[in-house]
Symmetry: C2
Subunit: 330 residues, 2 copies
């Protein structure tokens, strides 16, 4: 396979966006050319210095401070849409509260006739359903879009789709994850989404909570969030891929917001019946030392490379992580 | 996804070919229309009765006995090439001794300008390398070919390619399989290939051994074949997909030819370094109750469906199981 440089844009510069920029700094086949946050953006069609971007974002609070490439604006996404002809692919690393926020962003790119690749790491079923509905529009525009391409959904959903191959019928898919985060501050958006899954909370209520209120909630739980029967898009993604009814998919897990050590090993179990009528379970288990950032952003860029491959062969529309195998990015 | 019937041909009616026919009998999206063995073939463009084909093959010794659809000939493959315009996809379930036998069969299909899909479950590195070399020819003809699409290589190779996504660099991939077969007679070809991997044996020597000599060899080992550092195509497939140098891939396992119970759980371990510099290992483990037939033929048909999807979008040439995610076949 011939190496070619894919010019990448990142929408969002929170924990995930920053990790994504760090990863891009280590890739030969991809180059960061654009990144946006709430207060500004950094853009250079010839390639941004990822270290300078991270420095600006982490120590000064916005990528707008990036020397020579940063600009301040209240509509950084619009600014990147205007520069999107110089970007081969975007990773949408924005917090998705409410559910229709990211679908709205995609819609804006489509209206500007962006015909490259976009990849998200969306987690909620409702949000991914809205993205699937954009298929006719994105197909018409010539965009190749991959949804649910992080860890869950993403890596584990694809593993479930793969494991399903041994069976004639899938009886259940159980995803159980452990996440350890030493500093919740760096993953505010992600943890807010997790809290929205807890009994007595929802997306709206969480979006109205202050950081102090989130802090109090975490204190009350000793920093541990135990999540059961989560609304997680793995269900609709596996159903959409024709593998299993969404009701047979369960997602749960434990998030420890005060320790980088995972409280349990993240795994997916696929139970099915073979053509001979035998019941069995395949298991895919992630190594504890792999961080959420590695397990989300790695697949995101893998899927992005696959997206580029499809896009250049005129295959457009919306795909999920279970539809496509991610490609390895050097 | 709209269901459409894929007309399938199977080359070979040994253990794998028979299991493949049995599986097809349970699929709504696929239909067996052609099958060949050493002495004849069965063909019906409107669909064969899989039960009748299996009956003919298992009790009478050849698919040529299939009532109303069977024919005897010493060149059944040629006969199916002549009928290939009525076949959307072929599974090559032939024994591959010597290494260039299956590549030769593919070449014959290409020379007859077959522009459908072909899938193999080849195991040896040397054979898969020969298949990769056919890429320009198959691309020119318009064939979509997927190699190494069984279990190892296949399901486990794809799992390794997926697991690799969390890492910046892959350090090693270790495949270890357990196979339990109650009756070696049904899997003669496969077990001959396994014996060819043992110290002191090679493909040529095994091909010259009689069934009785194989039997004696199995007796000497109490029916247990322990295989280490096997020449297995997982290595070249993962290298070809740009994931890891083939030297970092090891394949070993234990085959118990006298018990259907697996002596160990088949698994693949992928060890890598994340972008933060952390070493870790992801593990994918197959349920013990899944048979070799289920783990080989399930992925084969999944990849076949993916192959049809690519073929109808004019994507041709040779792909491996690590390049593509198999699709679930209803």
């Amino acid at each position: 396979m011939q190496a070619e440089i894919i010019r990448v844009g990142i929408l969002g510069a929170g924990g995930l966006g920053q990790a994504a920029a760090q990863i891009l700094a280590q890739k030969q086949e991809m180059q960061l050319v654009a990144i946006a946050d709430r207060s500004g953006f950094a853009f250079d069609a010839e390639g941004l210095d990822a270290t300078a971007v991270l420095q600006a974002s982490m120590t000064q609070g916005s990528v707008g401070y990036t020397p020579g490439a940063g600009t301040f604006t209240s509509d950084a996404i619009r600014a990147l849409i205007e520069r999107s002809h110089d970007v081969d692919a975007f990773f949408i690393a924005l917090p998705n509260l409410p559910n229709d926020f990211i679908p709205g962003v995609i819609h804006n790119f489509a209206q500007a006739e962006y015909d490259g690749v976009m990849v998200d790491a969306l987690k909620r079923t409702g949000a991914v359903e809205l993205v699937f509905k954009l298929d006719p529009l994105l197909s018409a525009v010539g965009m190749t879009y991959i949804t649910g391409a992080g860890a869950t959904p993403g890596l584990l959903t694809a593993a479930a789709a793969l494991a399903a191959q041994s069976f004639q019928e899938i009886l259940k898919v159980e995803i159980y994850f452990g996440v350890g985060i030493s500093n919740w501050d760096a993953y505010r958006a992600t943890i807010r989404e997790d809290i929205a899954h807890l009994d007595g909370f929802d997306v709206e209520r969480v979006s109205e909570m202050t950081d102090e209120e989130i802090e109090v909630e975490l204190d009350r739980r000793n920093g541990i969030l135990e999540l059961v029967n989560m609304e997680h898009a793995d269900d609709v993604i596996l159903e959409h891929a024709g593998i299993v009814d969404r009701k047979q998919v369960t997602v749960g897990g434990i998030v420890d917001t005060r320790s980088p050590k995972k409280p349990v090993s993240t795994n997916v179990k696929v139970t099915g019946k073979t053509f001979e009528g035998k019941m069995s379970t395949h298991v895919f288990t992630l190594g504890d030392e792999t961080s959420m950032a590695a397990n989300v952003c790695g697949p995101v860029f893998g899927y992005m490379k696959t997206g580029i491959w499809l896009n250049r062969r005129s295959i457009h529309g919306v795909f999920s992580s279970a539809d496509l195998m991610p490609r390895f990015v050097q």
